[in-house]
Symmetry: C2
Subunit: 173 residues, 2 copies
């Protein structure tokens, strides 16, 4: 038994995950950040290539620069930190699929840790990907899938119920 | 408190998830299948479009037909069932990103439920996507991301430790 937060059940965390866009001023503890990164890297990848690269951002100027330039990531100006999920695009052609699994792991882990987070897409929008590329002077072969602001939720967010039986097909379409 | 399996902690389930390719002959209970589907549909999606469509396959002939035609899904011939993650490709341009989040949710939920599963990619391989399209006579606008065989693990699988500090960048790349 390590930490209380580790006891949040998996199914509950998956079903409770929601997009959290407003945060308190509390910093995210380093141990929790490491857990988020560890969970991200536990994702599967095609041929086990693990093309991902993760950027942890706490630098206020860089968070603000992204908030200003990314149309759906304005909340970065109030978030205490963010994780950017990137990948080596030369490592495999479908890096964004592997990076999506990383992102989902991080989002579920954030929910389990009592944090709030949201997937703000940069891929497949060239102008948004360029923002991240420029702010961090990324090498030519590194591209970003998304920027994930992370913090403690400023209010009580409720998950949406998106279960729809009409989307389930059994043995035939 | 519903079921024992719901008590598996989220972080543990994420870190314990592994690709399980051999299964016992036990069937997967309907309640667990519904939980897998419910977790899949709890994924986030761009603009909340929810482009996904899920096919549950228990039909032995269809499982075998896919096992025969898909190069990395031979284990379907022994799996009691599979879930195919599809999407309406006209609903959004990056359907495979949303469908990847669905897939990862299902894989983590399977781990949490004591099941074993594995992501066998059909996207981005046209010939593999055609196999699914043909076996299920999918409409023109529906494409598959992957086929996920699901069953009870036939042996004790251990997760890989893929945590690599060299993939973590703090405030600069």
């Amino acid at each position: 038994m390590e930490n209380k937060y580790l006891e949040i059940p998996a199914i509950k965390a998956i079903l409770s995950r929601k997009s959290v866009r407003r945060y308190t001023e509390s910093q995210v503890e380093d141990q929790k950040i490491e857990t988020l990164l560890r969970c991200g890297m536990a994702a599967p990848s095609g041929k086990n290539i693990q093309p991902w690269e993760l950027i942890v951002v706490k630098d206020r100027e860089k968070l603000n620069a992204m908030a200003e330039a990314l149309p759906y990531a304005k909340m970065l100006s109030e978030a205490p930190m963010a994780i950017i999920v990137c990948a080596d695009i030369n490592a495999c052609d479908y890096w964004y699929v592997d990076a999506s699994a990383v992102t989902e792991n991080i989002l579920i882990a954030a929910e389990a840790l009592g944090l709030g987070a949201v997937w703000t897409a940069t891929y497949p929008y060239p102008e948004r990907m360029d923002v991240v590329k420029n702010v961090f002077a990324l090498p030519e072969n590194v591209a970003s899938l998304c920027v994930i602001p992370v913090g403690y939720p400023a209010k009580d967010y409720q998950p949406r119920d998106k279960f729809k039986t009409e989307k389930i097909h059994v043995d035939k379409y």
